[in-house]
Symmetry: C2
Subunit: 214 residues, 2 copies
Amino acid sequence: MAIPDDSSARTRIRDAALERFGRDGVNRVTIRAIAADAGVSPALVVHHFGSKEALRRECDAYVVATMRGDGIDNTDELSDAAAGNARGLSRMLDAAAPVRRYLARAFLDGSPEAAALFDEIVDLTAAWLADGEREGRVRRTEQPRTRAVVYVTHLLAPLAFDEHVARVLGVEDLHDIDVTLRFSRVAIEMFTHGIFTDERALDAWDAVRKERES
Amino acid sequence: MAIPDDSSARTRIRDAALERFGRDGVNRVTIRAIAADAGVSPALVVHHFGSKEALRRECDAYVVATMRGDGIDNTDELSDAAAGNARGLSRMLDAAAPVRRYLARAFLDGSPEAAALFDEIVDLTAAWLADGEREGRVRRTEQPRTRAVVYVTHLLAPLAFDEHVARVLGVEDLHDIDVTLRFSRVAIEMFTHGIFTDERALDAWDAVRKERES
DNA sequence: CGGCGGGCTGAACATTTGTTTAGCCTCAGG
DNA sequence: CCTGAGGCTAAACAAATGTTCAGCCCGCCG
């Protein structure tokens, strides 16, 4: 009775919180709703975690640990490189749907822990892209840091807007494996060839810049 | 006195709501905070709009109208095409910062009006991309609809994650014109050439698909 | 001048919601 | 058996918050 096993009420509460926080955002979720999902009383939630805020932090910590690979040996680096993801990003995209949803939400809600994780993911991605440049897999750029951020946000985008993406594509669940596969195909195409056939857009940008300088 | 002018309390309230809703999300914002920003009493907010929900809808309507181009003749189609944006998207990216922020937030919060606007933007973008294909400006794809969604979400991403992007780039305000310019340069590069030099990622995807089929 | 309608407010109200309190029930250890 | 600690709960509490109410103030119309 000293060590609660993984289906203990405490774990059920945390999982329920993870699910609801990720789906609806922290401030739209009540302790009572979490308690109901976990099949316990609201008071027990506070009994175990102290407060709603502390529960959120615990979810953050759990998700961050998952992302960092604690407990799961997810060292499929070859597949990461092949699919075009840094390890940090890859972990996120490979994680279970609730964890993914929670993370995207956490980034949008803006907790300090989420911010730190975001920075870390950007760092890993930047390093991975730099490696790729050196090896000739990745195009050169004058702004590697900015490009890393752009890349990360672009991969995060479908997670953030999953509701709309699913609706437009007419699918029930964007996290379904087949849907993910179809969707990611298009994203990979964009990352491989771009979407434009010529440099018109780049030229237009240069024109705007020149005009602003004068 | 029949027609309230544009600096009337009613307008001030709506602008304050727009700003706060966009910055913090609807449910983190209180009527009292909006009232304070607008320099009026909480009761006046309800007096003019009926309820917080109705106020949100009015903000939605205002922003949607702005996006649709009501009141502003924003028919700079040449520039749109040159910069690589469909008209709906271009309007959004050109709008004032508070409006942009509000819209991104609205998409994330998921109101019906926002969903309809999202669909409309995707439609406009899909049409614009189809035109581009016909004219040879845009690469062909087997999944035009999916690509339109991907493109839209990718352009929305920095708006959604602006807090993190600004922090990583070390800038105060992502909506500053110079920052926007620097950032969009990298995005345009990605949309023009992609980021990979070879088809390794695409091949990896094909391999995964083949494996799943067997 | 008189009143009246609308913009506007302070205060009160009701509900939601995070949290606290007091105590129940079970079970391991003496 | 008994006792105490910990998981667990119902009920109460307090703060936040959307909303309502009664009425003030001021310019316009009759």
